[in-house]
């Protein structure tokens, strides 16, 4: 197994005392920031990006892996103990997890979430180890027209399949594409949308955009609607599980992993769908079906595993194609670009050592997470009581620090404020954040590929569809746009949470619900 040998090489690079220290710092920082209410994994990674600026790429990646998994675990802790999921992927975890916590089983809920995340993350990363090189091998053959088509597909998927309003998704996407235009045109060197500002012509730092939209925008939006009565935090001891909990958890972990990974690996947009499917599947399979809705441990174990497996799965398109499909992956891509590394088919061959170190770091970060966080859970739970003025002032402080350290220009702080206000506007008007950030990152890349393809064909539009892969992808895009429109006419669309709530309401009369029917096929 060539992959395993390379992974062993990566592990050898990663497992030095110094690197382990960076991994541990990353896990702790990531969990710390992730646990803080209102901060999801994407924001955690964006806020902590500047910390990795001064490091070597290898160390930065190792720390990054820790931040990534730490941020995710922190998010699920918050949703279990507060019942207010900060992101869509934790909605299902909160559903049963918080009920468990209210019944005094917070320790078991946190434990099954942590161990399930560890197992799913480990299996998921191993699957990346086997899939990504194969996919990259194929991807090298993919030309500019096909690459353009695949990027378009990712955009359409993220924009139209996710979120509640397609119109607002596309508005966000095009705002992102517009931001991506700012600066010198890469081919002709002419400034676009730069208002004669040399600092704008220099192109906008993606870190400033991400921190502004995710962190400052969120802080400003919360400031406008700050909950005046703090939420009740459920006290928690050290996480542990009894024998019965183990026997009820291990199958949901594995099933959740099986559901989550493919959804992450295929650019089908994030962890929302697999966590929902996992919840429904566990509910259908559970012997004590009546416990669902009252704190069933399977309902935490499955979705948590699905969430982490899908997070691992997103590394396949990210590493093999340079395609990010979640907000967190987008910021990871920005971080890679910061080191002058362009993810994509060539990454696997040109920076093989870095890739394998990164994958090894993911395994290490995952393990450290389990080792460090099970004992530390009570401490993390205390963070939920942090006074809100300090919390959001802290976000403002670190967001400014992050934007400022990138180039030490006050102008970057001004841009941060502009993007923060844009983030506030987007939250007010229900514009999703992910399409925007995807547009900023993929827009310039798409333009390059389009011009490359048309330069080869000497301006002939047929040059965009002269590869079979491109044609297939365009057909898929057409289906993606048409099928939802047809479905919307056949049956009224509903939200996963509503379906789940309904499943809990009429347990005895669980006839044919309009939930996804794929649960039979995934067994």
């Amino acid at each position: 197994m060539e992959s395993l040998e390379l992974l062993a090489g990566g592990l050898a690079t990663a497992v030095t005392p110094e690197n382990l220290m960076w991994a541990a710092i990353g896990v702790l920082l990531g969990t710390f920031v992730g646990v803080l209410p209102g901060i999801g994994p994407a924001m955690a990674v964006a806020l902590l990006l500047p910390v990795t600026f001064g490091l070597e790429p290898t160390q930065a990646f190792i720390m990054f892996a820790g931040i990534y998994y730490g941020g995710m675990y922190g998010g699920s802790t918050t949703s279990i103990l507060l019942n207010t999921p900060g992101e869509s992927a934790s909605v299902m975890t909160a559903l049963e997890g918080n009920k468990m916590a209210k019944k005094g089983r917070a320790a078991q809920a946190l434990a099954t979430a942590a161990i399930g995340s560890f197992i799913a993350g480990t299996i998921g990363t191993m699957l990346v180890v086997f899939f990504a090189p194969a996919l990259a091998g194929v991807a090298v053959e993919v030309g500019a027209p096909s690459y353009l088509a695949i990027m378009l597909m990712a955009m359409v998927l993220v924009t139209s399949v996710l979120g509640s309003s397609r119109l607002r998704g596309f508005i966000a996407l095009f705002l992102g594409l517009t931001i991506g235009l700012v600066g010198l045109d890469l081919n002709t060197g002419q400034p676009r949308l730069s208002f004669d500002q040399p600092l704008l012509a220099d192109r906008i730092d993606i870190v400033v955009v991400a921190v502004g939209i995710f962190a400052l925008g969120e802080a400003l939006w919360v400031a406008a609607h700050l909950r005046r009565r703090p939420l009740a935090v459920i006290p928690v001891g050290r996480p542990w599980m009894g024998k019965a909990d183990w026997s009820r958890s291990w199958k949901p972990w594995l099933r959740g992993t099986a559901l989550g990974f493919p959804f992450g690996a295929v650019p089908a947009g994030g962890a929302e769908t697999p966590t929902f499917l996992s919840y429904v599947l566990e509910k259908r399979l559970a012997k004590k079906g009546h416990e669902f809705g009252h704190g069933a441990i399977e309902g935490v174990a499955g979705p948590e595993a699905a969430n982490n497996a899908s997070a691992a799965g997103t590394f396949v398109p990210l590493l093999a194609l340079g395609l990010p499909v979640t907000a967190t992956a987008t910021i990871m891509l920005a971080a890679l670009q910061g080191y002058g590394i362009q993810p994509g088919p060539q990454l696997m061959t040109e920076h093989a050592d870095l890739v394998w170190t990164l994958l090894a770091s993911l395994l290490i970060g995952n393990t450290l997470l389990l080792v460090l966080n099970l004992p530390l859970a009570p401490l993390w739970a205390k963070l939920l009581r942090i006074p809100r003025p300090y919390l959001y002032a802290g976000i403002l402080f670190f967001a400014s620090l992050g934007a400022y350290t990138a180039n030490q220009q006050p102008f970057d702080l001004f841009l941060l404020l502009v993007f923060g206000l844009l983030g506030l506007l987007m939250r007010r008007f229900g514009l999703p954040v992910l399409p925007l950030i995807l547009g900023v990152i993929l827009g310039p890349l798409m333009e390059t590929k389009m011009r490359e393809a048309l330069a080869i064909s000497d301006g002939d539009v047929a040059g965009l569809v002269n590869e079979p892969v491109a044609i297939v992808v365009y057909v898929i895009i057409a289906l993606l746009v048409v099928v939802p429109l047809v479905l919307a006419r056949v049956r009224p669309p509903r939200k996963p949470t509503e379906i789940a709530a309904e499943l809990n309401d009429d347990d005895t009369t669980s006839g044919p619900t309009s939930g996804p029917t794929s649960k039979e096929t995934v067994r």
């Binding site: 403002l396 402080f397 333009e447």
Partner: protein
């Protein structure tokens, strides 16, 4: 993929105006909004507005951005042996943006309401508190204006303390102290730990 016409799902929360300052002995309590009479529990959920015409403002902004993008692209010159040139992409983006702005205006007029973002610390049943946002923006503007002159150590501390004050903290001395510790600490962490010198400003030579 829900219909855009669905009213926003406002979480059922406790009535606004309940005094929060009583719940713990913590000094860091948050300023309460003025009590708006005895609202019985359960009725706090505001009626979803029929139309959200503020969206027309956003639509207008999108149209302006779109039109400017097209105009800006028209000032570019197409290079030699470049069949697409730097204009095509902005033309497409600007045109679609203008169209999306128009579509949003139509949707807003037809009663389409957005679904505002919710979250752990967000209580959408209250009125928006734009004064706090304005204060925070003011603090950030101060930061931008002074960071080069005063240096990160001082500006950062002012930023933190000013933000806590904006958000309703009532302990200025403690806030300033925490701010100083954070900003000086981060200055040294970046300088010594990561080798990135942040602006020392007027404290050059002292730090």
């Amino acid at each position: 993929m829900s219909t855009p016409d669905r009213p926003p799902t406002t979480p059922v929360t406790t009535p606004a105006g309940t005094p929060a300052s009583t719940q713990t002995g913590d000094q860091m309590t948050v300023d309460t909004s003025p009590p708006d009479g005895a609202t019985p529990p359960g009725t706090a959920q505001p009626e979803a507005p029929e139309r959200d015409l503020a969206q027309l403002g956003l639509a207008a902004l999108l149209v302006v951005v779109g039109v400017y993008t097209v105009y800006d692209a028209s000032t570019l010159t197409v290079g030699f042996a470049d069949p697409v040139g730097p204009k095509a992409f902005p033309y497409v983006i600007g045109t679609v943006m203008t169209l999306l702005g128009a579509l949003l205006a139509v949707a807003a007029l037809r009663g389409d309401v957005p679904e505002p973002d919710s979250g752990e610390d967000i209580d959408l049943s209250q009125k928006s508190d734009w004064l706090t946002v304005a204060k925070l923006v003011g603090v950030l503007v101060f930061t931008i204006a002074t960071v080069d002159f005063l240096g990160w150590a001082i500006t950062g501390a002012v930023l933190f303390a000013g933000a806590t004050w904006s958000l309703g903290s009532k302990t200025p001395v403690r806030d300033v102290l925490i701010g100083v510790v954070l900003s000086v600490g981060s200055w040294y962490a970046f300088h010594v730990g990561l080798g990135i010198p942040l602006t020392p400003g007027i404290l050059d030579g002292i730090l």
